[in-house]
């Protein structure tokens, strides 16, 4: 079942003449992790705002083409500190803010909050004031707050940006688990080296349009390396002038040598 379908979607921010998205056709199925990659300004963040129904409905601008959503969506913005409600004095209450606004019964709110806190390993911080958290801790709280609303389509914009190595590993595992549970995941990230283990499909955006779609193997192709979108290992191979195909990860490089 498709959770999100864009059909020739183009989008213009308010008061701009050039489109930030150009005729993008893309779908994300339930149980699938799709990663958006591209240079800064290629349109990944804009695409997530459109998918979340924030653009143009909330932020204005103009959309052409069609966007259809089968599930309620939740989005983790690249600036998680702007997503804190400011209405809660504990992490638990902060994570409960979204579900409470969905009008769920108290026991369901509690169940979802406890589950989200456990999944983000935030239980020890449940009674902390969100204002006292470090950047990475706060990012995990915001991810928990979005997941507690149980969205069928989860949109992530640079979700690992503030996370340390453990936090990032936890997040990537969790994203795979969410997909296994049937959620549809669309994420934008510059953490290219994580994608071979995380993404089912990679969508390469360039100047607001889809340049290529493929498995994460796309990130080992010469063109991707030249555009700064190769994995570190593939890029080292290409820079060293070794013949293609390039290994995608350290594990591939080691296997290739044997």
């Amino acid at each position: 079942m498709k959770s999100l379908t864009l059909d020739h979607a183009s989008y213009w921010y308010a008061a701009t003449d050039s489109s930030a998205l150009r005729a993008v056709s893309l779908d994300v199925a339930q149980g699938e992790v799709v990663a958006l990659v591209g240079a800064l300004g290629a349109g990944a963040s804009t695409l997530l705002l459109v998918a979340a129904d924030l653009a143009p409905r909330v932020i204005g601008g103009r959309l052409e083409g069609s966007v259809s959503r089968h599930d309620r969506s939740g989005i983790v913005l690249p600036t998680p500190w702007t997503q804190v409600s400011g209405m809660a004095f504990t992490v638990w209450d902060e994570v409960a803010f979204g579900p409470a606004n969905l009008g769920w019964p108290a026991h369901e709110i509690a169940r979802q909050v406890d589950r989200a806190l456990e999944r983000l390993e935030l239980v020890p911080l449940a009674s902390r004031d969100p204002a006292t958290l470090s950047g990475g801790e706060l990012q995990r709280v915001i991810i928990a707050a979005i997941l507690a609303m149980d969205p069928g389509l989860v949109l992530f914009d640079e979700p690992a940006a503030e996370l340390d190595a453990e936090g990032a590993a936890l997040l990537w595992r969790l994203i795979r688990l969410l997909a296994k549970e049937g959620k549809a995941i669309l994420l934008a990230t510059s953490a290219l080296d994580a994608l071979p283990d995380v993404a089912d499909r990679v969508v390469w955006l360039e100047d607001g349009a889809v340049r290529a779609v493929g498995t994460p193997d796309l990130l080992a192709e010469g063109a991707a390396c030249d555009a700064g979108l190769g994995t570190s290992v593939a890029t080292v191979w290409r820079t060293g002038g070794l013949p293609a195909p390039y290994p995608l990860t350290v594990a591939h490089a080691v296997r290739g040598r044997r």
Binding site: P78, T82, G135, A161, A165, S232, V236, W237
Partner: protein, 274 residues
């Protein structure tokens, strides 16, 4: 030579929550230091102490020969350029150019010098094309770059940067690396908080690792990043290039991409030779 920065037995708590405990390290002029550690280790607090936004509970933070306890933040701006974790919050002008030039103008260095410093910082970070835009019309990653340009334009003796590469693509990260290497060659000291160890390997030379507010390790990054067994207990994961060098046992165990590519090419040539 007086260090650009010296923390001398520094402790700090937010209320009753201890954050830093008897932390000591120093950064020499021109030195490029990564401040590493898990989330919540106290790294961002170090930045706030150096910028004079917080005072140590105990110990002393020296910026050159100034005790930060005796200085207000605007005075410290003569010597320290800072980029905070949430750099959005440090932009306020109507255009990127006005924002970048605010610092040197506030220092009172003269209009011609303000212009020179502003142009140089904008150019170094490829921001010239965005100079007349409103900072909030730029995506968050570019705002961070704009804040970094503002810090560079101060032309301080010490740059303290909290996660400067978040959300940047590879081309811009390379640009930041080049700008920072260039400033450090002019004997500017760098202290950079980052979880991006690939960027750290390309840009910085020494790693200071915090663990729950205390100094866990202080040594050359080349040695540290190549040693998986030492990184893991510190909550760090080896960057892919260092992991590749170790896995393939590349000569010299390079941690920078260009060095690894060169080593790999040499190994491949050696193997093809008759």
């Amino acid at each position: 030579m007086i260090p650009a920065l010296r923390l001398d037995d520094v402790s700090f708590s937010y209320g009753t929550v201890p954050v830093l405990e008897r932390l000591s390290f120093s950064v020499a002029p021109g030195e490029r230091v990564a401040l590493l550690g898990k989330n919540g280790a106290g790294k961002s607090t170090v930045v706030r102490l150096i910028a004079g936004l917080q005072r140590p509970s105990e110990g002393t933070v020296w910026v050159g020969d100034w005790d930060t306890r005796d200085c207000v933040p605007e005075q410290l701006a003569w010597r320290v350029g800072s980029v905070f974790q949430h750099a959005d919050q440090q932009l306020f002008a109507r255009t990127v150019r006005d924002d970048v030039s605010f610092g040197p103008r506030a220092l009172g260095v003269g209009e011609r010098e303000v212009e020179r410093r502003t142009d140089r910082a904008l150019e170094d970070l490829d921001l010239t094309a965005h100079a007349e835009q409103h900072p909030y019309d730029l995506p968050p990653a570019w705002r961070k770059i704009a804040a970094l340009a503002g810090a560079l334009a101060l032309e301080p003796a010490l740059l303290v940067l909290d996660e400067p590469t978040v959300g940047l693509d590879r081309a811009l990260r390379t640009r930041v690396t080049r700008a920072l290497l260039d400033r450090s060659a002019g004997s500017v000291a760098l202290l950079v908080i980052t979880h991006d160890l690939t960027f750290a390997a390309e840009t910085l030379e020494r790693g200071v690792v915090l663990d729950r507010g205390s100094l866990a390790c202080d040594e050359s990054l080349t040695g540290l990043l190549g040693d998986v067994t030492r990184l893991e207990p510190l909550g760090l994961a080896p960057p892919p290039v260092a992991a590749l060098s170790a896995a393939l046992d590349l000569p010299g165990r390079p941690v920078r991409a260009a060095d690894a590519a060169a080593a790999l090419a040499r190994v491949a040539r050696g193997r093809l030779a008759p």
